[in-house]
């Protein structure tokens, strides 16, 4: 296999920043592991508090207190808790006694980019086990030496090393002095998973009590002594910049102290600030009011005419003509014929809309910068600040607060850079507060997608030919000019790795120039691509006169590992940063989640008129997920959702309750995508700029019941945060079809079903 360790994951889009003149350190899995191993073998750096530091992720003080460093960002996925669970188990210490520190942005941790559903599968599990095992082996060796017994005869539990044969035991605190003199083993023996007592259990979250009492600190809450607050009027159209501005009225607002222009970054602007005019004030309210009073003349932009209605037509034109072929198996154009089924699917731009709008506080003094931010990627924040302010990256400290939701938005650190820029300008710490209008108006919207699918089946309902055309502005367009076709990286999210057994497959991409900063959103292009593919499979099932579940099972073909060299893809197909041999695409796992969810949801049961069940399956982030949605449509077209079932096979669930809550959340986010959410543009500007217009699912619209079925298949560990999203929207649309006979091919459904 020529693929994919390095080239094909989202974080590796970062490498494209190099093209903009800024070099970003990229932490691939292999680099991270090498780095970690190297640091271990060298016995590591001095600990700040003199504690023993057998790993960059772990310190044990002379009194035995265990501190772990969480190098990934907490945004609701529970990684801080998960890391502590893994350490507690592998080291053999008391989970409740662990102190957790959030790591600064620092290459010594390997990749800290908290995206791609990697925190546990690629960030914490192996790393924390290695760290915990290293410390345990050394503590056990120390105790064994103390007692003159064989190290294999001692064991560790709850912060105490014991020798069962003699009944002797010593707490960690009594062993640290000796342990720190021992050489660090390169490959300490790991426990077997059957020895774990925390992993697999439900554990209260490490931040739970702080959240429940309002003490948890997010980016919007971060403070530095003497800080000023900045609210920024950003260019409303991508590519526009400040031509002139009048701040006289803004400066009259009580509390407003200064008004400062931030230079813009022309497209492709990557992670750099959009520019604009910043109002600096002594309070947030003054800054918000001051911004209202600014008068700014914006320059013309090539994106001034961006209009979502017209753009949809442009994309339709792209998918109705032959595009650039990226996958060509057999001869699909020749084989398409006879009883051909065809359909077009549209999914609009989406906004991440985390409940916490982006925010950061920074202090620049001389050639040094310190920042606190709700960022998914403190290393990118550090490096982008360094690049923008011409500082050395090692002189930039980026601390990570809790993130009030992120969903991909907060891996782009433009707002952190704004705070650092303004602090450098005015010489005091500055907190930049994005309002909801900023978040929705000038963020990094998820791509908009038009897809055309065509297929032919034989008399038995076997798909013989399949053509999939996609026009969707690509993420690489934020990093490099001329990127007008959906990229191979994005097509690897469900299209190039489409699992159905079809002899003739053609995938083509059509032109789709970007007019906004396209950003990755939870599940990325799996969102529109799973919607189109899983909806179309349902359409084919009905065209073939088959039950949709039976049709999916039949189309997956015999149990097998897909041969990723034989897909007809013109380039190696990415696999979420993993090797195909480690994480194959296994049709039996698709089938297993389908069968599980169908069984649990009572697939096939008779429902009253106006109700229906829909089903879909999708593999993403190395995890297999199937969902059944039950909808109820009133005679007037009002949709309610009594229940959603979702089955996930992520190989191995470290913290099952958190896997469940991530799945519950994925169901609801996917239903927002399907039912209510659309970010559209007119005259280059976002139309929906607050939650009154950008609609998301609320309590009343949420499913009454969500049943999560975790399948611990024992397969290699996959991601959890994102893979729940893709199959739910198509399962919902398929359920609407079952309930009403109406096929929804445009998201969101909005009032498409409403009847007067």
């Amino acid at each position: 296999m020529a693929t994919t360790e390095k080239s094909l994951e989202r974080r590796d889009f970062l490498s494209k920043l190099a093209q903009t003149g800024l070099v970003i350190a990229i932490g691939t899995t292999s680099v991270r592991r090498l780095e970690a191993a190297d640091r271990l073998s060298r016995g590591l750096l001095a600990s700040p508090d003199g504690a023993w530091q057998p790993s960059v992720y772990l310190r044990i003080a002379d009194d035995g207190a265990v501190t772990i460093i969480c190098h990934r960002s907490e945004m609701g996925q529970g990684i801080r808790t998960g890391m502590a669970m893994v350490i507690a188990d592998e080291l053999g210490c008391d989970y409740n006694a662990i102190t957790l520190e959030q790591g600064l942005g620092d290459n010594k941790y390997g990749s800290q980019n908290t995206d791609g559903s990697t925190s546990m599968r690629n960030g914490a599990y192996d790393t924390m086990r290695l760290a915990g095992a290293t410390a345990r082996v050394l503590l056990e060796a120390s105790a064994a030496a103390e007692w003159g017994v064989d190290a294999s005869s001692v064991s560790t539990k709850n912060g105490v090393v014991s020798h069962a044969a003699s009944g002797r035991s010593l707490p960690f605190g009594k062993l640290v002095a000796r342990a720190r003199t021992l050489p660090v083993p390169a490959k300490p023996a790991l426990k077997s998973e059957s020895q774990f007592t925390m992993i697999g259990k439900m554990v209260p979250g490490i931040d739970l009590m702080n959240v429940l009492t309002g003490k948890a600190i997010y980016g919007q809450d971060a403070k530095m002594p003497g800080m000023k607050i900045a609210v920024i009027l950003h260019p409303p159209v991508y590519g526009s910049k400040v031509e002139s501005f009048d701040a006289s009225a803004a400066l009259k607002v009580k509390g407003v102290e200064q008004v400062i222009e931030i230079p813009g970054t022309p497209p492709p602007s990557a992670f750099f600030p959009l520019g604009g005019v910043a109002v600096i004030a002594s309070s947030t309210w003054a800054a918000i009011q001051g911004r209202e009073k600014l008068k700014v003349k914006w320059s013309a932009s090539p994106n001034d005419s961006y209009d979502s209605v017209a753009y949809r037509k442009e994309l339709e034109g792209s998918v109705r003509a032959e595009g650039k072929t990226v996958r060509n198996l057999g001869d699909a154009p020749a084989a398409l014929g006879g009883k051909k089924v065809e359909a077009e699917y549209y999914a609009p731009h989406l906004a991440h809309a985390p409940m916490e709008p982006p925010a950061a506080v920074a202090s620049v003094k001389g050639d040094k910068c310190e920042a606190w931010a709700c960022t998914q990627n403190p290393q990118a924040a550090r490096d982008t600040i360094a690049g923008y302010l011409k500082l050395k990256p090692e002189n930039v400290d980026v601390h990570v607060t809790l993130l009030g939701g992120a969903f991909g938005r907060k891996s782009k650190p433009d707002y952190v850079v704004e705070a650092a820029f303004l602090s450098q300008k005015i010489g005091t710490p500055v907190k930049v507060v994005w309002t909801r209008e900023d978040d929705l108006g000038v963020g990094y919207p998820h791509t908009v997608s038009m897809q055309r699918l065509e297929a032919t089946m034989d008399a038995g309902g076997k798909i013989t030919a399949w053509r999939h055309r996609i026009a969707s502005p690509p993420i690489p367009s934020i990093f490099a000019p001329g990127q007008e076709y959906h990229s191979d990286d994005e097509l690897a999210l469900g299209v190039l790795d489409m699992p159905y057994e079809i002899p003739n497959v053609r995938v083509e991409v059509g032109k789709a120039p970007a007019h906004v900063r396209i950003g990755w959103f939870r599940s990325v292009s799996n969102v529109p691509q799973a919607f189109a593919i899983a909806s179309f499979m349902d359409e084919l099932a009905h065209a073939a006169g088959k039950d949709p579940l039976e049709f999916l099972m039949q189309s997956l073909g015999p149990d097998r590992i897909l041969d990723m060299n034989a897909t007809g893809a013109l380039k190696p197909v990415g696999n979420y940063g993993a090797k195909w041999e480690d994480h194959p695409n296994d049709t039996s796992r698709h089938k297993r989640v389908l069968q599980a969810v169908a069984r649990e949801a009572g697939w096939g049961r008779k429902l009253p008129k106006g109700e229906g069940l829909g089903i879909a399956v999708h593999r993403s982030f190395l995890t297999y997920v199937a969902s059944v949605v039950h909808v109820k449509v009133s005679p007037k077209g009002k949709v309610t959702i009594p229940r959603v079932d979702i089955a996930m096979d992520c190989g191995y669930a470290v913290h099952p309750d958190r896997v469940r809550s991530q799945c519950e959340g994925a169901v609801i986010m996917s239903l927002s995508n399907a039912m209510t959410s659309e970010l559209s543009f007119k005259n280059g500007r976002a139309v929906q700029t607050n939650f009154n217009a950008y609609k998301v699912v609320r309590m009343a619209q949420a499913p009454r019941v969500i049943k999560v079925h975790i399948i611990n298949s024992g397969g290699p560990m996959g991601g959890v945060g994102e893979p729940g999203v893709p199959p739910v929207a198509p399962a919902f649309a398929n359920a609407i079809f079952a309930a009403t006979g109406k096929r929804l091919r445009t998201l969101p459904i909005g009032d498409q079903l409403a009847k007067a």
Binding site: M75, L212, M355, R698, P703, R704
Partner: protein, 160 residues
């Protein structure tokens, strides 16, 4: 005229702009950052607090509307984090990112105080004012039932 009010039991005096939203007074002036900023237009509920026991969106409540009133924020909901709603939230392990949960718990505690044992429709109406983008709704509904004594803390509806 300075505005007098009580925040979490402590008397306070405010002599700034009487049209300033209560949210920014709580967050910036008093440092009570448990009350969150989400939208600024009363469309998301992250800033929900109690004004004389009733839930309001502090982002659109001007200071003058809080004059001589008792304001309760998440920091003042209970002394030890053991209000029945907080205990129920822990039992159902509700929070994901946690950012909206202050608003959720303030809305839920006001709802339970008003209705005793809220119906599903009551929950839909009151809690639809507070958005959770992480999608904790099934657990919030369950936690409200636990807090209202309508369900034991060990029972679950969320598939657990």
């Amino acid at each position: 005229m300075p505005i007098k009010l009580t925040v979490n039991g402590s008397p306070q005096t405010f002599d700034g702009d009487p049209t300033q939203p209560l949210l920014w007074y709580l967050r910036d002036d008093l440092g009570l950052t448990g009350t969150k900023f989400g939208c600024g237009i009363a469309a998301c509920g992250a800033c929900t607090v109690h004004l004389n026991g009733t839930s309001v969106q502090s982002c659109v409540t001007p200071m003058m509307a809080a004059a001589n009133m008792k304001v309760t924020t998440i920091e003042g909901l209970s002394a030890k984090g053991d209000h029945p709603v907080q205990k129920a939230w822990a039992a159902a392990n509700v929070p994901q990112c946690g950012y909206c949960q202050s608003g959720q718990m303030m809305a839920a505690s006001a709802l339970i105080k008003k209705k005793g044992k809220p119906t599903d429709a009551d929950v839909d109406e009151a809690m639809s004012l507070v958005i959770c983008r992480c999608g904790c709704y099934p657990r919030i509904r369950e936690a409200i039932m636990i807090a209202a004594g309508m369900m034991p803390a060990t029972s679950t509806t969320g598939g657990r």
